[in-house]
Symmetry: C2
Subunit: 337 residues, 2 copies
DNA sequence: TAGGCGCATGTAATCGATTCCACGAGGAGG
DNA sequence: CCTCCTCGTGGAATCGATTACATGCGCCTA
């Protein structure tokens, strides 16, 4: 592979001049510039990003550590992150933690070893020493979707509180009174917040939330299935189930079908995180939609601001309820798609 | 960030000794080793992968360029690729081409600039000059799922021919005679091969495949919807539709429902590529399943073999038919899950 | 006891870029 | 005509690692 020296030799100039041409430094004569560009062309030269990074101490690369690539919510997030980063001149390296803290640490470590310019994280847990050290040690960092309390890192996320209240109103309006939730791990913010929002909304309607109606899941389909089976086995099973993410909702759907029951006739179902597939299931599933692409874009912008010395901003978007048919017939005024 | 020099100073040895300890070179005294390790610990030193790569000309990184991250088939592939690579001591950088050749080229270019050790590609097209040059220029490369004919690059893929024949037999056995296909782009091998296999299987059963029953899709849901609408608008619509990937199948499902028709009563539907969601749709969709994780693992092994100087092997797996309910009642002997 | 061998270690070159500094040529101004 | 400034250019240091080569020491053997 041709190096800058080869180009310099071919063009009959010094490596310094070649470098200047490549970084369009102003003080290069037109003649030299032409010769260098011709040499670059002739040799098919491409600058070695590794060498460049070593010298400049910049990789123009962002790390993105997500909790689960198999979850469509996160792939959509990853896609928008990459898109925005590319627009701003950065590449993205994705690390998939599979909801496992030690795998998350592995990725954080290798990303730091590669000297990425900044880190975008959706933590699977309350924060390992490694990640906390990195944050405190000055690695530009932004949390997206989930975050870790008590760390001075900007957070880009969606607030589902209002949408959860809308959902409870919707369920209440349809006559449902016994509402249950399949929660995510309490160590994650999205795990605990969604339960809190749900509990609060129920209180507004004077509805109870007994412990038996709070199932402990782990954001994976299997846990949704298990928890739903437990719900259905109760002496007084819930009339509606709210899953804190889309994978657990599908697990729930599965468990309900396995019992020969129908949604929404026998039991209502709703999910946090809307995904394209929810339109295609039978029945289409009512869900709380985050503006996922906007989240990704805002997170990248915040991180790049931080990297390039501008003050980064935490951003909170609003999630919104998308009513479909899985809780019963929608009122005419509600959004359907 | 501490460098090897700082460690050397702290431990009172030269950088060479530090390097030897880190790469466990045999000839280092136990005393020196201990002092170095203590210094590493004290400073929280981590070797700079950028500098190391520059010197050794190895990045221990593989590039993976896939056609569409939003397609669950590819995310599953990406996951298994990363897993196997990690087991072999490599990291993976994923580039998403979004089925756009120019984006594919962008990713190939930046990956090469980063001097990745090898490239795993599922090409979106017949091969750009850039990719062909890279392949011929000696960049270790392996094609996975899709490939480009006429290039000397190992291919790891699944052969769907037998499974497609099984599918046609299944459809024929259920009494369907007018079978149609939603094809992928002809520039991709999976696009053309699946049509060919289908055509051949139909011929075995003496069934025709008129041009009106070959819809041209692009592996995205919208195209599946459009093509299906065209099918349904024909004077004599097909009795069964076979979508060449999962996203187009969902588009088809959508179009069928929009007409108020039911699967499989009014029309049968099957898809290439099985995904977890197909179990949850109503009805569950009959599909041709590739051993996706095995594909990813084999591709990584082939690529790493090539990188480390062992002869790489092309591998072809068999795809298999998974019968569910979207074509009609399954025969008792067929696999269901 | 001298020669030789091997081990532990250090010095310095090297990878491919960027960039500071010095230098020479040429033009402007006094 | 001399001085000074600007512009284009090249030499060389530098980033942080790896590694070939040199060196010195201790020990074994003849």
């Amino acid at each position: 592979m041709a190096s800058i020296k080869d180009v310099a030799a071919e063009a009959g100039v010094s490596v310094a001049t070649v470098s200047r041409v490549l970084n369009d430094h102003p003080s290069v004569s037109p003649a030299a510039r032409t010769r260098v560009l011709a040499a670059v062309e002739a040799l098919g030269y491409r600058p070695n990003a590794v060498a460049r990074s070593l010298r400049t101490d910049q990789t123009h690369t962002l790390g993105l550590v997500i909790s689960d690539v198999l979850n469509p919510y996160f792939t959509e997030l990853a896609r928008s992150v990459e898109e925005e980063a590319r627009a701003l001149g950065y590449s993205v390296i994705i690390g998939n933690a599979d909801e496992r803290p030690e795998l998350q640490d592995h990725h954080v470590r290798t990303l730091l070893d590669r000297r990425i310019d900044g880190l975008l994280v959706s933590p699977t847990d309350g924060g390992s020493p490694l990640m906390l050290d990195a944050a405190r040690g000055g690695t530009p960092m932004v949390f997206v979707d989930r975050w870790i309390p008590g760390v001075d890192v900007p957070v880009v996320r969606a607030d589902g509180r209002a949408a959860v209240r809308d959902l409870v109103a919707h369920l209440h309006g349809l006559g449902h009174r016994r509402l249950a939730i399949i929660a995510g791990p309490a160590a994650t913010t999205t795990g605990s917040e969604r339960v809190e929002a749900f509990r609060e909304a129920l209180r507004e309607y004077g509805l109870p939330l007994p412990d038996t109606y709070i199932g402990q899941g782990d954001f994976q389909a299997a846990s949704g299935r298990r928890v739903t089976e437990e719900f259905l086995g109760l002496p007084e099973p819930p009339e509606a189930v709210f899953a804190a993410d889309n994978l657990m909702a599908l697990g729930a759907l599965d468990a309900i079908r396995a019992r020969g029951m129908r949604v929404p006739d026998d039991i209502a179902l709703a999910a946090f995180d809307d995904i394209p597939w929810f339109v295609h299931t039978d029945p289409p599933i009512t869900a709380i939609a985050q503006p996922t692409p906007e989240l990704g874009r805002a997170a990248v912008r915040a991180l790049v601001d931080r990297i390039e010395g501008r003050p980064p901003q935490s951003v909170t978007f609003a999630a919104r309820l998308v009513v479909r048919r899985s809780c019963g017939e929608p009122a005419a005024t509600n959004v359907t798609r």
